[in-house]
Symmetry: C2
Subunit: 257 residues, 2 copies
DNA sequence: AAGTGGTCTAGACCACTCG
DNA sequence: GAGTGGTCTAGACCACTTG
């Protein structure tokens, strides 16, 4: 898997920089490029692949923004030391997240009904409080252990027959995407620390007052419209959040000439 | 504060795209551009400011990557709905974060000593357990209210005279950066939900058993070497985490021509 | 001095959105 | 059809790192 062997498809709808980026990513994963070692320079990629330097650069920059590589002015672009395996900062449904962690996701439906949105969900979804939403309450399980309780609201207008067409064994996100063409691309999430109420404790098989995470999430389609409002409570003893953070190249770091 | 009024300093070491980006950021903060509303298009910025379109584009893209704005192909670039006050997904020191939220950060030092790393910090910092680290324990306050307890370990070898040179009134990150040339660019963070121990409760002026966040953070310089290991406990009643999540554009999302 | 990434230009074509 | 962002080119000058 040499860079030289890459045949770019210039007719493809897939951008050149993306083809290059994927190729390098593949080479990193396969061990062809090792952590701490330099990737081909912009100039070299540009010449070898017969693309402009800006295109080669864009491929390398996108690797940097993913945290897979980092650049040093005057030196080169290097493979990051940190592991690649976790795609943090991605919207993932519970199902997707558990599968990524290697656990078997499963849900127990507590209720599945059509109700008025109410003030809180209405504000998040930009509806009127009297507008109807589909509300789905589930206990989320991983490998048969209860992990959290989740209440999801989706505007009824977007999926009028969701109750008939949603298979509880599958992912809600997958249903929204495949059946209704609702592709969630962005979300805002607030995380708080709290204590399990007695109701939650019963569902999660923990003691009342145990530490829990409280999540409030609003999810959006590309147009920017909110399509899902979720409140959930997850067990503090079985759930943790892992973040990878990058530092803003922000304030006045330019040296003089 | 109109875009038109911006005088770019073409002699400055500060890049043009950055000057433009800062100017727009300022305009957003001042309310000149409102959430959901479009920013000037690449073309417009390019013409008005007499820069190339790529430069205008770079300014807008950097706003997008900060989460301050988002682009929609064929429509424009818009100011994000969410509040600006938190620069999510950025490594930020407590000081920086509180300043960004408009609170006055302050710390009370509990201890500041040179000790052996111990197993946990050694593993994170890739040291031997017997290697020396500088350990700084502080109560973190915002506007004179205690927010959390934080224990920071930095390898002694990196900053042998930190105890003499660190001014507790300033940011540790700033000291590491300005005095030792240690620029933190990346971090991994694990967040857990827990209950305040009696010691933490006393320091934070809350009841024992109150909900708290437990953070474990390892920070890295560009070369990928770990330089800081932090464990902290923050009050669940005064602290929350806001995340903006994007969904992977991963697999072939390009439409046909 | 040679190589590298950072910035910048002045064009170009495309797909998409909207009126 | 006009406007927008997405991609791409073929150059250019600069600052920085290393030998």
């Amino acid at each position: 898997m040499e860079v030289e062997s890459l045949n770019l498809d210039r007719q493809s709808v897939v951008p050149l920089y993306y083809q290059i980026q994927q190729h390098i990513l593949q080479a990193i994963r396969s061990g062809r490029f090792k952590p701490g070692k330099p990737l081909p320079s912009e100039e070299e990629l540009s010449k070898r692949l017969r693309v402009s330097r800006m295109t080669a650069r864009q491929a390398l920059k996108s690797l940097c923004s993913q945290g897979v590589a980092y650049s040093q002015r005057g030196k080169g672009t290097f493979v990051s030391q940190a592991k690649l395996d976790k795609n943090v900062r991605q919207v993932a449904s519970f199902s997707e997240e558990m599968e990524a962690r290697g656990a078997r996701p499963h849900s127990k439906i507590i209720s599945f009904e059509i109700i008025s949105a109410g003030d809180e969900a209405a504000e998040a979804l930009r509806l009127e409080p009297k507008d109807k939403v589909v509300r789905l309450r589930r206990v989320r399980m991983a490998d048969s252990l209860p992990m959290g309780v989740e209440t999801t609201c989706v505007p009824l207008a977007l999926c009028p027959d969701l109750r008939e067409r949603f298979d509880p064994k599958t992912s809600l996100y997958r249903t929204l995407s495949e059946i209704y063409g609702i592709h969630i691309v962005q979300a805002e999430e607030i995380v708080e620390a709290g204590l399990a109420t007695s109701g939650e404790a019963r569902l999660l098989k923990i003691s009342k007052g145990s530490p829990v995470f409280l999540f409030t999430r609003t999810a959006y389609v590309q147009s920017g419209h909110a399509v899902e409002y979720v409140k959930s409570t997850f067990r503090g003893d079985r759930y943790k959040i892992t973040n990878r953070l990058g530092r803003s190249s922000g304030g006045g770091e330019w040296r003089q000439g």
